[in-house]
Amino acid sequence: MASVHESLYFNPMMTNGVVHANVFGVKDWVTPYKITVLMLLDEMTISTSITLLDRRRLNKLILPLLQSPDMTLSQLIKTVEDSCPQLAYTVHLRLQLMADGELKDMEHFFDMLPSPFNETESEAHKTSVVGLFMRHMVLAYNKLSFSQVYKLYTALQQYYQSYERKDSPAAEPAEDTDMELTNTEELGGKMEKEELDLEPSDDEVSTRGPLSQKQAEYFLAQQAYLLKNDENKALDPAALQKELNNMLKFNPDFAEAHYLSYLNSMRVQDIFNSTDSLLHYFDRLILPGGDSKSNGDEGCGRSLRYAALNLAALHCRFGHYQQAELALQEAIRIAQESNDHVCLQHCLSWLYLLEQMKGSDSTLTEHAVKMAVHFCLPYLASLGIQSLVQQGAVGGKTANKLMDALKDTDLLHWKHSLSELIDISIAQKTAIWRMYGKSTMALQQAQVLLSMNSLEPVNLGVQQNNSEAFAVALCHLSELHAEQGLFAAASEILKHLRERFPPHSQHAKLWMLCDQKIQFDRAMNDGKYHMADSLVVGIAALSKTEGLYRKALVLKAQNQTTEAYKVLQRLLLYCEKIKGTEMTIRVMLSLAELHWSSSCHAVALPLLLRSLAVSREYHLQYLASECILHLAFSQLMLGIPEQALNILHMAIEPILAHGALLDKGRAMLLVAKCQIVTASSEPSKQQKTQALEVAVQNLEEAGTYFTKVDCKERVRDIYYLQARLYHSLGKTAERNKCAMLFRQHNQELPSQGVPLITRL
């Protein structure tokens, strides 16, 4: 009894302990579905009455039909009907004849099938897809044993009958004649329904029939492609895993499925399953020794190297840098031992990446690029160059060199049609322009990326557009829009990002951070500091430095100067350590502002000068103008407004050209203030009035900027200044209007501690 209990599990494809899939070349076999497809093909060759248009549609249909998993008859007939109803009917009829007939009908069908092998005039050439399929089928059919042929025939009958049964109740509802028959089955049906509740997937799978090796491979390839390029179109993780488990349960040797399962587990950040699947894949993977002159042992070694490398990649993805490094060392050692330069090259790239992630500088890249070029690995080479560019941009290399390098890599990309890298390159350009403070250029580059068609052959209606590059470009785009006060557009972009990169996916953190930053800025503008404070936690979770910085901003705004100072000092040290230039400058500016609030304008000056020097050194034009703005303000407060106006001229142009609305407003306000102060020292009254008029105009402009970004407090201050100016100009009507507006605003807003004079 025991032996009967155990199902037979032995794999006949095992020689010398190693399982070779497909020793017998069993890739495909005959199923009822395939017989129907064969009939369809046969009909297509026989029938002469099909119109050209129909024929074209049918031809387009063939490949999906051959590759897809088995469909039910009703599905199949429906698909064919969409192209050519007449043909669907004939196929249906032929199948009916065969199913209602005898076994010999099927045998006859296979005998009569025009073999593309011997008939030269046959439409299907023997090496064409269709010809290959037909030959496969005929071969598979001829290999069937006696009992298998009969099994196939009964399967065919069932296949047809299940279609008929599904069809008939719709055609003749409430049929009484075979009530008794259904009655006896009803109990069984009920039971099955119960079972359906228990395991619905099982039923679903079984209706689709077993996948042949080919179909399974196609399924895996398709899903893997979708995972890479458009995750949302792939099966959702749970369903995919179920499908894979089903596939693996009965054919554990199907190594590729393990790899897909690894990818799938990575999607949901499941480290246990992904490690398990990855290692399982490489345990199962025995590279075919015959593909090169290398013997079996060499093949095995090859897979080992890549196994270690993949493990390193996995740990890296989960942020286990130490483990990743250990695995990488192992991969490097094995690759070195076997002189595999290509693998070594991959290892080197990863090593560089790891070093970068751990935050240490390295000179590996340049070396890596040279080697990659030497071994003709364009992908790795330009990836290396891109890393170099990034490094250079952060390290303050001159822009023309960087752009030159990017142009060179672009040449390489287009030559090898590496569309993925083209995307990255454009996204990188966007980021670099943005960093330099040229928002118009950044905007343009982001648009270029979004409106570019992918180079990949348009497959399955998927465009390669859920890569990191797209996420980065879109994030920049939304931030740029928010800066210009176009909040609706920004949130629209964010909504799109949310759809395209659902929160569990890999690049979701990018847009999450971006979203929170925009919200934070809005809250700060609006003076809702408590709201901003609540956002800080979220930002800190995604980026530590950014979170700390924003925390300091909130503290500063709430007049908790000491705490803000502490945080900023800590942040400054940290930023200098990790060489985050941009953040360092911003922190220094904030520190200077803190000094202002305690009226130590002279103390702020060296800080500001230092930050100006740094931002000039790193070509951060926008931050440089920001520094100048701060400097000018300090000078104004120190009582040298002429000097302030002088240097303001340097900053005002770039700010008006590229700056955010808020900064534009601040700049104009500062200009106006300087003008007011200088006006008082004007000798003649006329000149004085003229200067004040200009100041009023500038204030007006600043006011419009502030209103656009909902900066109510600043708007109030503007009204106040305007009212005072009008007063001194003697324009009572205007003065009264401004005063009224000021009063309205002032009633809405709680009074803040920071007086407007000591604010930039």
Binding site: M1, L187, S206, P210, S212, A216, T275, D283, A308
Partner: protein
Amino acid sequence: MAALSSQFADLVEIKKQLTVIIALCRERGLMHSVKWASELAFALDPLPMNELPPPPPFTEEDAQDLDAYSLAKSFFDLKEYDRAAYFLRGCRSQKAYFLYMYSRYLSGEKKKDDETVDSLGPLEKGQVKNESLRELRVELSKKHKARELDGFGLYLYGVVLRKLDLLKEAIDVFVEATHCLPLHWGAWLELCNLVENKEMLKSMSFPDTWMKDFFLAHIYTEMQMIEEALQKYQSLINVGFSKSTYIISQIAVAYHNIRDIDKALSMFNELREQDPYRIENMDTFSNLLYVRTMKPELSYLAHNLCDIDKYRVETCCVIGNYYSLRSQHEKAALYFQRALKLNPRCLGAWTLMGHEYMEMKNTSAAIQAYRHAIEVNKRDYRAWYGLGQTYEILKMPFYCLYYYRRAHQLRPNDSRMLVALGECYEKLNQLVEATKCYWRAYSVGDVERMALVKLAKLHEQLNESDHPAQCYVIYIKEIFECGELMEQVELSTAFRYLGQYYFKNKQYDDASICAQRCCNYNDAREEGKSLLRQISQVRGQGETSSSDLSLPFIFGPLSAKNTPVRRMSPLNLSSVTP
């Protein structure tokens, strides 16, 4: 724990029950249960003539079905299941009904196996199903709801549910079956396979009969709760089942599981004496012989089993072990393959085959074999360990960490995995991790006694002076307690280090003792002598009191006095040998 059911007082009654159940099971073709019950019955004293239980009552229905039943039973015995089912289809009696359903079930299973061979491709294999299972389930559940099933019917219903992967329902039905007919061992055995952990076991309620004790003992063995299992079996023997071969074999397997090799060997020898033609469990026996490298015994066993039946999985495994011991690994692998052909789900054979391929340096084949073993049973720690070893041989210490960890998870108290993990960490230059592993390995009871030496060397590498000394002291103590003096190299290094250590710490008495011990070993003799010379020099300079160098070696003072014995970690308290 060891308290048994009070029913064991009346062995005659038990014997009677056994006799009855044997007859019942035989009528229904449940041969494994018959075998088990008969084995037990044989262990008890024979009943006198007048005590023999009467044959089961014969009802009207039984009489009606008698002819159909006898015909069908003969077909059933000849494995013509469909034919048997055909002649039983109209029968009303419980007995005939069971046989009817059972033949349908077996027929389905048999056809399924035939189909699998005949199936079209590897991916289709999974689609082969026992077609009759669904029908059987529908019919049986109807009867179950109407409470028309007897104990045997419930058992069959449970088997059908299990085959349909409805495990929870299956467990409920099996428990019901044990309540309904506690004497049927088959139902208990099925439960053994379905119950996964202790909590699950505790949450179930079983009938309070003497069968429950056998069941608990069996399941404790399965769950590696060896202590409890051994207690149970011992008390069963005390009660009067001392002659039962079943119990002896179970005890032997239990000893094997905790690697108490001597006791296991003696139990197996006893088993062989009582039941010389037994083939079951002999693969385990051969594993033990293999571990002890008892070539002649293994050879005798292999030849003997081959005489009895050479087409049994166990025989093939024994022969494989035999060839492996003789370093004929190709042949060994061949025999393990044969075992797998006989029963592809035979777990041990996959793992053993992996070991053989390892010996043959065919790593990829070894990996595949181990993977197959894991496929069959995810909890096979030997296969995980084997995979780890394979990758270690391929010089991938980081890669194999994962596998060793898996093995360690399954056997948290097995020092071998911990030592292996430690070695890997050592290779990866993660010395702190490695020390943790070695210390833990020592704490759970190190079998190979290597952990301490390795730990000491590691501490030496980390430039700590006290820790290595402690480790060496404990190591030396343990070796001397065991009375085994095989690992001379390590002992000499231990003494050499300790000598230097005490010398540095100016504990000259201890140092000189160690130096003297060093002189006993070839490789450390010179150093020992030079150390002795140094000591006498220092002593000559410093104190005049020259202690007698010919002090006979007493190990006591060495560790008792000044050596800082490392504080025992709390782990050590639970040093239960796995």
